[in-house]
């Protein structure tokens, strides 16, 4: 009689153990997934690329010539300049980091905050001197700005 009672107690104990494990695991899983989703849906910075024309860069200007390796390592820049996100607008005369020039929008692509930092470290501007390089690809000159939501 006693051993039967003990066995039942053990079974109930094991079931409760499994129940608690499943319950807490579900709560942790849901919370982690929810926080990750909320973090991801908070909006991301956007890379916007413009092309400029007219005056060639002055002699002492810094020019970065984009290579295949650059495009490979910065997929967002690739997609905005020559990929799916390329969609050139009409030319207009506007304010650029180099003064008032003829410019047009070329494309834009979402980037993460880390990618934004990496793009700025790779292609400018120089944060302290506020100097923006000219980005050249196939004879055309570009500059980009990354807007934060």
């Amino acid at each position: 009689m006693k051993s039967k009672h003990d066995r039942r107690l053990i079974i109930v104990g094991v079931l409760v153990f499994i129940g608690v494990v499943l319950l807490v695991a579900t709560v942790v899983l849901t919370c982690t997934a929810l926080f990750t989703w909320l973090e991801a849906s908070g909006g991301s910075p956007r890379l916007n690329v413009w092309e400029i024309r007219g005056e060639l860069p002055p002699e002492n200007a810094s020019i970065i010539h984009l290579t295949e390796k650059d495009f490979e390592q910065h997929p967002a820049l690739d997609s905005a300049i020559r990929g799916d996100n390329r969609g050139p607008g009409a030319w207009y005369s506007g304010d650029t980091p180099y003064g008032v020039l003829d410019e047009r929008t070329i494309g834009s692509a979402p980037v993460t905050y880390l990618e934004r930092e990496v793009l700025i470290e790779s292609f400018g501007p120089n944060v302290e001197a506020r100097n923006q390089p000219y980005i050249e690809y196939e004879g055309a000159y570009y500059y980009f700005l990354i807007l934060i939501p």
């Binding site: 153990f17 494990v21 470290e121 790779s122």
Partner: protein
């Protein structure tokens, strides 16, 4: 045998057992929950079609960050890190862009799993979430992983 005769002591033992079992259950559950969540998040990202990237930034000065030497084992465990720091993916930018005390050394495409492994090994650590600086041949590197 004596416990059987003393119901109070037996009850205490039972309570202690239940508390211990619950504690163990919660601990197991938390670990299990995090493992499942990690697996689920990696799976969800993998099916999203985005491309995670690995970037390595070089710092001119170590500052107050923790410095950890990179060993041959690190490069063997993470071929992507090897390729960026000393292989074909090395493509350093000029120091002058961005902040002068850091520059990008290179980057490469990685899978979500590799990215997670790199983040766990070289990502932000401790309460302050500081990136450890990885030292290799006298240069200091920060390993960054991005998930689109």
């Amino acid at each position: 045998m004596e416990e059987d005769k003393n119901p109070k002591s037996r009850n205490q033992l039972k309570t202690a057992g239940i508390v211990l079992a619950c504690g163990l259950a919660v601990a197991v559950a938390v670990v299990l929950g995090f493992m499942l969540a990690d697996a689920l998040i990696v799976y969800a990202y993998e099916s999203s079609g985005g491309q995670p990237m690995l970037y390595v930034m070089e710092r001119a000065e170590p500052g107050e960050s923790m410095v950890v030497p990179l060993t041959g084992q690190d490069f063997a465990d993470h071929p992507a890190l090897d390729a960026v720091i000393r292989g074909e993916e090395r493509n350093p930018s000029a120091w002058e862009w961005g902040y002068r005390d850091q520059r990008v050394i290179g980057g490469t495409k990685v899978s979500y799993r590799e990215s997670k492994a790199l983040h766990d090994a070289y990502g932000p650590q401790g309460e302050r979430g500081l990136y450890p600086l990885m030292e290799y041949e006298g240069a200091y590197y920060v390993v960054l992983t991005t998930w689109p």
